[in-house]
Structure formats: C-alpha cells, structure tokens
C-alpha cells in the first residue's frame, strides 16, 4: 500500500547530482603523481638492499665480477641437509596446521557461529606471544620432562620429538606460530563461498559429512588453502629464534653459522633462498589461479 504513495521528492535528486560531476575528471590527476612517488619510495626501500646484497656476492674487492659465491653454495657443508630439513618441517607443519584449522573453521561456521570470536582469539594469540617467551617455555619443558618422566613411556616420546634429524618439537612450535595465518586465510576463503547452502545441498543429495568436507568444501577452498600453505612455508623457512635456541640446524641457522666464516656465500644463500621463496609463491598462486579459471 505504501508503494502507491508518491514518496519521491523530485527537486532534490537531480539538483544534487550535477554538483560533484564537474570535479570528477580532475580528481585522478593529482593522486597519479602521489601514486608514482609512493611506488618509487617502496621500490627503493625493497630493492636497494636486494641489489646491494647481490652486488656484494658477485664483486670481491680487487677482483672483477664473479659468480663463484653462488657456485660454492651447493658444495658448502650442511647446505643440502639444512635446506631439506627446513622444507620437511615446512611440509609437516602445513599438513598439521591445515588438518587442525580447516575442520575447526568449517565446524564453527556451520555448527556454532557464536564460537567464531573465541576461535579467532585463540588462533590469533600466538601473534602476541614473543617467540623468545615461547621458546623459553618450550625449553623449560624439554629440560624438565626427561627428569620427571624417566620411568614412563613418555620419556621415549620426549627424546623422540627432539631427534635432530627431524625435530617434531619444531613442527609443533611452528604449527602454533602458523595458526594466525592459516586461520585468516581459511576464514576468508570460507567467507567467499556459501558453505551452509553448499553443504546442505550436498547433504540433500545423500553426501555424508566427510564427503561434504572432501568433495564440496575443500575443492572450493583450494586458493585459500594454497595461501595458508604458502604463508606457513614462508614462516618455517625463515624462522630463526626457536630453532636457534633449541639448537637445531635449520636452513636459517645454517646461513647464520656459515656467515661467520664465509660472508659472501651466506649472503648469496640469502639471495638464493629469496628466489626459492618467490618461485614457491608463484607456483602456489598460479595453482590458485588455475582453480579459479577452472571453476
């Protein structure tokens, strides 16, 4: 009934519209200058250290251009082992953090939306705990554990998680560190699809809950999972404090060790690891893009 009454006040709308119009063409011009300036500043900020590092690795004092430092990376003692260890830790962390967060995020979204702030706070908490505090706690437990658990089967577990060939304790620590990033990515990815309707449609067609998760939700969250994985991998490949204080030679710690004796090689390795990280980023983002164009 209300729709029959003429509510429109014709005087205001056309009068207001032309006013901002003339200023519009002039608007983008000034920001374009600023945009350029900001871009330039950012470029200088990021590129100068990179270029400086690269120049340092290829120009020894008194000699000319040489890529020797890069050649020496691969023959350097401990390179392969530490890189493989870091990659292995990265993969294990990714698997574990996804197994933990994905079902949790989906379950909260579908079953208990009111718990979402709780989950968010829990997952974000690691950001506010300084790594040094975190590792101090871990090492206290690791010292205390064997003494008190000597007569129980847990003693063997305490030893096993510290196996220098594959320190499970680092994976556990990294899972905690990666939680905020994984949670953010997955929550955003879940927000982009209508999980409730999609899972109800699948349930209606006879799918069990595991089937819904594997066949409906995960395939539609590939790019979110890819970004969660990438952030986690980048975090693990760059983590120094915890591994250093628990005395495991991960890749960053190896770089730190050889920088004392072979400064040029260590910088070359840094540049090299940056390249690896970039390649991984490209690979993961193109995996995400392929999924988007495919669907």
């Amino acid at each position: 009934m209300a729709s029959l009454t003429p509510q429109v006040t014709p005087g205001t709308a056309p009068g207001a519209a032309p006013a901002p119009a003339p200023s519009r063409p002039g608007r983008p011009r000034r920001p374009r200058v600023w945009r350029g300036a900001v871009l330039l500043l950012a470029a200088v900020y990021f590129l100068v250290p990179l270029i400086a590092s690269f120049v340092f690795t290829v120009k020894a004092p008194g000699q000319g251009f040489s890529l020797d430092a890069y050649g020496q990376i691969f023959s350097a003692e401990g390179f392969g082992g530490s890189l493989l260890l870091s990659l292995g830790l990265g993969v294990a962390t990714i698997v574990l953090v996804l197994l933990l967060t994905l079902p949790a995020v989906v379950a909260v979204r579908l079953g208990a939306p009111r718990l979402r702030p709780v989950l968010e706070v829990v997952c974000t908490l690691p950001l506010v705990v300084p790594p040094i505090t975190f590792v101090a706690g871990i090492s206290t437990v690791l010292r205390w554990g064997p003494d008190y658990l000597a007569t129980t089967p847990l003693y063997q577990t305490m030893i096993a998680v510290q196996n220098p060939d594959f320190p499970v304790v680092l994976v556990l620590a990294y899972v905690v560190l990666a939680l905020p990033f994984a949670y953010r990515s997955l929550d955003a990815g879940l927000g982009a699809i209508d999980v409730r309707t999609l899972s109800e449609a699948a349930r209606n067609l006879g799918a069990s809950w595991p089937h819904v998760l594997l066949r409906v939700i995960i395939p539609n969250m590939r790019s979110a999972m890819a970004s969660a994985s990438f952030l986690t991998l980048a975090l693990v490949l760059g983590e120094f404090t915890i591994a250093r204080l628990l005395s495991f030679e991960t890749f960053p710690n190896w770089i730190y060790r050889i920088s004392g004796s072979q400064a040029q090689v260590s910088v070359a390795v840094s540049v090299f690891s940056l390249l690896i990280t970039w390649l991984l980023l490209l690979a993961l983002s193109s995996a995400g893009a392929r999924q988007r164009s495919g669907s």
């Binding site: 009934m1 029959l4 009454t5 003429p6 699809i193 209508d194 309707t197 999609l198 109800e200 449609a201 699948a202 349930r203 209606n204 067609l205 006879g206 799918a207 069990s208 089937h211 409906v216 395939p219 539609n220 999924q291 495919g294 669907s295």
Partner: protein, 364 residues
Amino acid sequence: MNGARVEFRGLRRRFGSTVALDGLDLTVEPGELIALLGPSGCGKTTALRCLAGFEQPDEGEVLVDGSDITRVPANRRDAGMVFQSYSLFPNLNARDNVGFGMRVRKAPAARRHARAQELLELVGLPSVGDRYPHQLSGGQQQRVALARALALEPRVLLLDEPLSALDAKVRVTLREEIRRLQLSLGITTIFVTHDQEEALSMADRVAVLRDGRLEQVADPATLYDRPATPFVAEFVGAMNHLPGLVSGDRVTVLGQRLPVEGPSPDSARVDVLVRPEAVLVTPVDASGGEGDGIVMVSSFRGSTARLRVRLDDGTEVLADVPGHDSARFAPGTAVRVGLVERPVLVAARPETAVAAAIPEPDVV
C-alpha cells in the same frame, strides 16, 4: 516417479525466544503441489527445513508415506531440494552438479552422464553440460539446481523460494515450467514463498502460515474469494476494510445493503472486506452532482489501474478500473464509489484493525 504423502504433526520449533513453529499440522497429498505462504518469520522455511532434515523440531513429527522420518539424517531422506540461490557447486560443471547425487551413490560415470544429460534436457538446457555455474545466468542456475534435485527421483520435491532471486520475466517462465514438470512427474512438491502471486498461480493448494501456525489451507480460488481469517484476507491480494453496520443477514456499507457471506460477528459495527475489483467508481462530471470521494493516487498496471480514493469521511478505498479507462481517473478527480452487488465478508472491528484501515492523514 510417484509422489509421497507428507504429514506435519504438531510441529514445534523455537530459536531462543522466538517461536518459528507453534504446532503446525498439515497434510500434503501425493502428487500435490502445495505452497507455504506467509510473511518472513512465519515458519514456512523452518517447516521445509524440518522436512529436509536440516532442522530438528522440538516437538511433533514429520511423516512421509506414514513412516516417521523426524530423526532420519538429512542425507538419508528421499527429498530433492532447490535452494534460494548459489547452491550449485562452483567447482563442478552443470553435468557433474546434476550427477552429484549419483556420484555419492557410486553410479558408474557413463550412466551418471547419460542421466545428467537427460535431466538437463528435461529442464530445457540440453547444451550447458560443460559450463560452470558462474557461466550460467541466474535462471539457468536454478534450472540446473532443479535437474540436480530431480536426478535421484525423490518422492518429495522441496522448493525454498527458488525464484526470489530472479528477475520478473524469468520468474514467470520458470514457475510455469516448474509446474509443468511437477504435473508430468506427479511428484509431491512443497513450495515455500512469500510471493502470493506465485503461490496462487502455481499451487494446487496454498497454506497460509502466521507466527508458526496454519491460518488457512485451501485451493487458490477459495483462498482469494473466501479468506477464513482477516489475516489471510489482508495477506492474499489487496483488501479494503470498510466500516459497516450489520442488521439481520445484511450489512449496510457505503449506503448499500448487501447480503453477508458466512458468519458475522456479534457486534453490529463491523469491517466489511471488499476486494479492489469489487469496488465500482465513476467520475462525477460524467453524470453531474456530488461525488463520494476524490482520487488521491492512480497507479497504472497495464490491464488495470489501481486507484486510491479518499472518501469524504476520511476512509480510503482501493479500487481497480480497466487500464484503458485510467485516463478518466487522474488524481484529483471527484468520483462516486459503490460496490458490486454480491455477498460480502465481514469481520469484527478490533481497535487495531480500525487504526490500520484508516491510513495516516499525511499519505498523499
């Protein structure tokens, strides 16, 4: 494909302090298309979700062909559902969307594809099998969703406002097509909608819900001509509430004495319920003399134009005139108002109804 009989028995469901279903009893006959109609929050979607298994009633039971399915998990119920929108799996093309249910049941790929193609043809989309949901229009997406819901030959089809996100033209075509398919398959169908036109045009019977209870269930013509309650009268179609005085089996309204249809309330002062098409208006200048009221608003609708006439005593009346006549009823025209000589419905005049019937004075 044979339709099942669906029964809701004393269904109750509350969410916190709001009561979505307050003892709903309704039986849907095999092969029937029934529309659940009501304003938002009336419980119509909750009832459908209880039948689909996405919602558990606090009390009461849902029966399909006599067997209680209230506690059966959603994925083991024999009901296909079409959702409001965005329910196709974005990672699968149309064919795999339609074949999803068969894939869950581990049907071989060849049979799945053949059946999916058959269904896509049934809904008029034989060539979109390879397209992904984002490559389909809204109407096409809902057709694919319909094909997907029918793929497993369910005994009940559930439609949860499947047309509400579509534009007007597509909505009308698709609803005719859904009806045609439903009739040819003979599948029991429950259609939730807040659009009374949709409900009246498609359904065998319309169930009007209000505050989780059934107000009236009847075929569209009965619902429109003989609304059982003032709420139904108000909700289905437009309705005038005119003050009248009952004496005997007749009522005096707008100076006319008309027979009363059905029961009349105890009080003599009543609301007379009259559809806009039963109100006769004639421009005064054609016959000369005094008018009863003045046309305030005229909205052209094509075949008809709906007038809002303010009577001299302040009452407003809605009246329909033929569209080609609308030029004679421009706003400001003085008109004489009468009613078609036909039995009329009357209702008690609660204070609130009086207030609602007389619009605020600033409505111009």
